[in-house]
Subunit: 237 residues, 2 copies
């Protein structure tokens, strides 16, 4: 059991808590079959995710005013549907596909691990997703958050310090009373620069066959666990 | 069962969901006995609550910059402790007393009613309390919120429209897809002006022997219920 304990634990969400790739492949493949729309859905999804960081970086660098993730997703989707030559999609279909990010499922350990952690700690997502996306996703996946720290609360995307420090401010905590939990070493490095505690666990299948990094801890994080259930065990709950 | 259904239901909190007066009387009486501090705690608590609206109104009118409710509570407490001549309180005691607002308990129907409503609707407090106050209170009382709409997210107190409309904006909903639930007719009248749906149920013991109003519905609210369990029943869950 770790000696120092946080008051709140915030979780990166896409990849760390929910399996965005597996969930979207299942969801959109079923949708395509039902609607009779042909497409290489896994390739579309991988390209969609590849557009994620560049689209947020345009906002972070001030090249574009604040835009919530749902709207960035939609702009990227429109471009990719044209590039992939997917035909026959109505506006209603595009809305449905875009809200696929609200219908992601947790990894097998996510709900049981979070449920244990919630008994002692304030838990929430600290994600680049907007509040509505994260709240509807939590309803869908059964994620038992105490509070949803969407990026629209701060008007900033990670790794801007306003996100990590914004959680501490909203919860009346010092930065080192907040623990960032993520399957991404880069997220944790940025949280640590802001003074947060850190917990890492790997999600080696997040990107499927395209995974290239984050197989293991790259710094001495406060906790290195195998998954969220193990994080709960190491924190003594 | 009501014909039109909201997507999200937000609850006034002090008095509507939690019994602030009964909780604080029990909490501070026990604290006074334990610390050997003599005071007329019920009178202090009633005076403290009487300072609530005037203190927020100073912020709402721009006479004071944005100040979260915890800090307004503390300023009122300091003044009242002097007025009541309560002696022997340390800074640690004053912090503990002020955080009494984080330790309020639900009315008997609150947790079971909210638990039922959560199965179909997004539920959250829409309160003048700050996010930390409302989140720690939910942990204490077991309130199963999906999202905590604290006034510090909007930088406004109710009845400013930024609060009611802020929920709709954060949740990507039209105002009439959000229902305000409260034991206070005035709160509902202001929510209705912003286009929200409305639900009333009375809390005739909120102010103990000092209750003067809100024994019954004063407009034709969308739903008039006896309590939160009955609200769930009327919404068909």
């Amino acid at each position: 059991m770790s000696s120092k304990q946080p008051v709140a634990i915030v979780f990166d969400t896409f990849g760390t808590v929910v399996d965005w790739r597996g969930s979207l492949i299942a969801d959109l493949t079923a949708f395509g079959q039902q609607r009779g729309v042909q497409a290489d859905w896994p390739a579309l999804i991988d390209a969609w995710r590849a557009a994620y960081h560049p689209s947020m970086d345009r906002v972070r660098k001030g090249e574009q005013p604040w835009t919530k993730l749902d709207d960035l997703h939609r702009a990227s989707l429109d471009k990719l549907v044209a590039e992939f030559g997917i035909n026959g999609l109505t506006e209603q279909d595009l809305v449905h596909i875009n809200l696929g990010w609200h219908r992601l499922n947790g990894w097998p350990d996510s709900v049981p691990g979070l449920t244990r952690l919630k008994t002692r700690f304030v838990i929430g997502p600290l994600s680049n997703g907007n509040v509505s996306l994260l709240t509807y996703m939590a309803k869908h996946a059964g994620l038992p958050w105490d509070m949803v720290f969407g990026s629209d609360l701060f008007g900033h995307f990670k790794p801007d310090p306003e996100t990590y420090l914004g959680v501490a401010k909203l919860m009346d905590l010092a930065p080192d009373q907040v623990m960032m939990a993520a399957a991404h070493n880069g997220d944790l490095a940025n949280a640590r620069k802001c003074g947060l505690m850190t917990a890492f666990f790997p999600r080696p299948n997040e990107y499927g066959p395209h995974q290239k990094r984050d197989y293991s801890a790259e710094q001495e994080w406060d906790i290195v666990a195998t998954d969220i259930e193990d994080l709960a065990t190491q924190l003594g709950v």
